[in-house]
């Protein structure tokens, strides 16, 4: 029956492979160091406590993230409402300008210089406050184009009427 001392003999005689085999058997025979009573139960309780703590932290993090998102959203809405309010006021001012211009320039012909001045003014505002100015300027341009188109329509009707008058 092989003896563990054969390991020592194999080591001393240089039989490496045999020495490793015998040594492996010797190590397997070493007494095991057992954990104390209740180790497994204590460990599982510790694991579950850590799990509960982690879930609580995750829940708190989600609530904090939702609050932050809500505050940011409300703040943005407030900020945008201020911008939107300004946009509405400016849009109304542009429309009123356009209407006044229409009323004063209808029949005299388009005052292109006035249109040019408005374009330059819009461009300067756009450079100062790009986003708002872009939106407002776009609305102004749409309003101007609409008024221009309406004028063309009115002039074409007037022109036809005059030519009819001349012919008759």
């Amino acid at each position: 029956m092989p003896n563990d001392r054969d390991w020592l003999q194999a080591e001393q005689s240089g039989h490496d492979a045999l020495a490793e085999t015998m040594f492996a058997r010797l190590v397997a025979e070493m007494p095991a160091i057992e954990p104390g009573a209740g180790f497994v139960d204590r460990t599982v309780r510790a694991v579950w406590r850590a799990r509960a703590r982690r879930r609580m932290v995750l829940r708190l993090a989600r609530v904090a993230a939702a609050l932050l998102l809500g505050i940011t959203t409300l703040g943005s809405m407030y900020g945008l409402s201020v911008l939107a309010g300004g946009f509405i006021v400016r849009g109304a001012a542009s429309l009123s300008h356009g209407l006044v211009w229409f009323l004063t320039s209808a029949g005299e012909g388009a005052r292109w210089w006035w249109i040019a001045e408005r374009i330059v003014a819009a461009a300067s505002v756009m450079m100062a406050s790009p986003l708002t100015a872009a939106v407002v300027a776009a609305c102004e341009m749409i309003a101007l184009l609409a008024i221009y188109a309406f004028r063309r329509l009115v002039w074409s009707e007037l022109g036809t009427h005059e030519s009819r008058k001349v012919r008759t």
Partner: protein
């Protein structure tokens, strides 16, 4: 006959929230974990703390466990990192054979050949080798325990210890040589029939 669930099955159940599954997994690896940790840090109570912490971390990272890999090697890698971190912080001194008994180790025999029975002598040699294991470098000890007690392959030991395969082979080789020289110095001769009391006689 009840079928014993595999480690992978227990992991799946534990991930689904089954405390019983993780209890079974801890029960399966409690002794190997404490065994390895105790031989690394030379303190049984501390070994239990480290093993417990390893199980807590293993549960936290259970979702990242690759089921293609043996659970043992993955778990021992976590335990290895914990014990190495502790050893780097504390650097425990090498303790004597007598000190091992106070630390909760099995009784270490420094009297080879005290029992005439061959089987008892084998047990005594195993205990002496166990005590001598405490006197070699921690990385050698760890490689020996993982390879020969926990039956991990050399590749798995290399992964658990985060070293190359060649380094593990070096550790194992040097551990064997150092243990052999320590035991020889204690009087454990190579001849099966010879007793240490008769040291000095020529062995044919």
């Amino acid at each position: 006959m009840p079928v014993t669930p595999s480690d992978a099955e227990l992991v799946q159940q534990a991930l689904a929230g089954s405390q019983e599954a993780y209890h079974a997994l801890v029960g399966r690896y409690a002794t190997p974990a404490v065994n390895l940790a105790a031989r690394m840090v030379q303190d049984r109570a501390l070994a239990e703390d480290l093993a417990q912490e390893a199980f807590v971390r293993a549960f936290e990272r259970l979702s990242s466990y690759d089921q293609q890999r043996r659970f043992a090697s993955w778990f021992f890698q976590i335990l290895h990192n914990l014990t190495i971190d502790y050893l780097r912080r504390k650097r425990p001194a090498t303790i004597s054979l007598d000190g091992l008994q106070e630390a909760g180790y099995p009784e270490a025999s420094s009297a080879p050949g005290a029992r005439p029975d061959a089987r008892a002598e084998q047990a005594a040699l195993a205990r002496a080798a166990d005590a001598a294991l405490a006197r070699i470098r921690p990385e050698y000890r760890e490689a020996v325990v993982l390879r020969y007690r926990e039956d991990l392959s050399v590749q798995e030991v290399a992964v658990a210890m985060s070293v190359p395969v060649g380094t593990v082979k070096t550790y194992l080789h040097r551990a064997r040589k150092e243990l052999a020289s320590i035991l020889a110095a204690q009087g454990w001769a190579a001849a099966p029939a010879a007793k240490p009391e008769t040291r000095g006689e020529e062995i044919p």
